[in-house]
């Protein structure tokens, strides 16, 4: 794996507390952060609280002259730790059958397409249940757009371990999902 510094997907300008850059960062990262937390098992309200707290922490971090390298990874790490503090058993919920009967899939699709999508999501859910906690978190952070190095920082593991974990998890999903 490449350990050299990789550019972030989001080119982040130099930030200062209360600046427009922070607002822009909030707009860009709010949804990925919420999705990560909700997929970890937090409720929507809990996730929103955690994201708000994380950006308050970011303001404090910037006000106190904290480092600005990899702010995105920093934010994911903060919400990850806060999620862990709030709910120790969150990981068990990810991969369960979706609530609400997946009615949202019915938008602008034929009944056959809706059925196929539902079936595919059921298979993914079942496959996700077979993943370890670390594999799930790696895939979730990867889906959030983080680089392996950033994932390693969030989870506190080596970048090479992240690569191996992601590959193993993807292989499992490919085998179980039959996609």
């Amino acid at each position: 794996m490449s350990d050299d510094s990789v550019p972030l997907a989001l080119p982040l300008p130099r930030l200062s507390a209360g600046s427009a850059g922070v607002t822009k960062l909030y707009r860009e990262l709010r949804r990925p952060l919420l999705r990560y937390l909700i997929c970890l098992g937090l409720t929507c309200d809990e996730a929103q609280d955690v994201v708000q707290d994380a950006f308050v922490s970011l303001q404090r971090h910037l006000s106190s002259g904290g480092g600005q390298e990899n702010i995105r990874g920093w934010l994911f790490r903060v919400v990850h730790n806060q999620a862990r503090n709030r709910q120790t058993s969150y990981d068990r919920r990810f991969g369960e059958e979706l609530d609400g009967g997946m009615d949202f899939l019915a938008d602008s699709a034929t009944p056959e397409q809706v059925l196929l999508r539902k079936e595919k999501l059921r298979r993914v859910a079942a496959a996700i249940q077979l993943l370890t906690e670390c594999e799930r978190e790696c895939l979730l952070l990867r889906a959030g757009g983080l680089r392996y190095r950033e994932i390693g920082e969030v989870l506190g593991i080596a970048t090479s371990t992240v690569g191996d974990t992601v590959e193993r998890a993807m292989r499992k999903l490919a085998e179980k999902c039959n996609v």
Binding site: M1, S2, D4, V6, L34, R35, I38, C39, T43, C44, F94, L98, D99, G100, M102, F104, L105, R117, K120, L121, V124, A125, I128, L139, L140, R142, A143, R147, Y148, G163, V166, E167, M170, L173, A174, C177, V179
Partner: protein, 188 residues
């Protein structure tokens, strides 16, 4: 199984160093099996992403469509307008009944005994053509001459004691459509 297969996901995620990535890319162009795995991994990534989105949508509180408040406001406004219109029909605004007297008809003098204190002049207004043309007045498009009768108590015009009590004067005025007074006649 190719040796490169273990690097395919890292290659997809652009995590390989440039030289190694080029090498893997060249291999993929030639290896059918690796091409299939790349497609599979891409599909798995998309499906996983879709599942994450589905989880988020399923757990998000249902959003009210942005048209609902607009429609609700329109409905309330329409109801209010309808109520106002209906109320206007059921309870018409009270209007002073027009006089049916002609311009030359004498106005009964009010009794001074019934009204204590000095009285103010009273005024009646009606169209000249009303009495003569009857219902045709509604078909006339042009404005008509207006006759005004003003009952003026004598005590309002003269100092106390100058005129006997109970005497009134009637002022007949004819107003042209342009608002000018055409005729003034004072009678007792």
């Amino acid at each position: 199984m190719c040796d490169v297969q273990g690097k395919l996901i890292a290659w997809l995620d652009r995590e390989l160093p440039t030289a190694e990535a080029s090498e893997v890319e060249r291999h993929i162009e030639q290896c059918r099996e690796c091409q299939r795995w790349v497609a599979t991994y891409g599909h798995v990534s998309e499906t996983f992403d879709a599942y994450c989105n589905a989880v988020m949508v399923a757990k998000e509180p249902r959003r009210v469509s942005r048209w609902v408040p607009v429609l609700a406001s329109s409905l309330v406004a329409a109801l209010i307008i309808l109520l106002v219109l209906l109320r206007g029909r059921v309870e018409p605004v009270p209007v002073l009944a027009p006089t049916v007297a002609t311009a030359s008809a004498p106005v009964p003098a009010p009794s001074l005994a019934a009204v204590p204190g000095p009285r103010k002049p009273t005024m009646r207004r009606h169209h000249m053509a009303q009495a003569s043309r009857g219902e045709e007045r509604f078909t006339q498009g042009q404005p008509m001459d207006t006759a005004i009768q003003i009952a003026i108590p004598a005590e309002a015009m003269f100092p106390p004691g100058a005129m006997p009590a109970g005497v009134n004067f009637i002022a007949d005025l004819r107003i042209a459509p342009d608002g000018s007074v055409q005729q003034v006649r004072l009678r007792q």
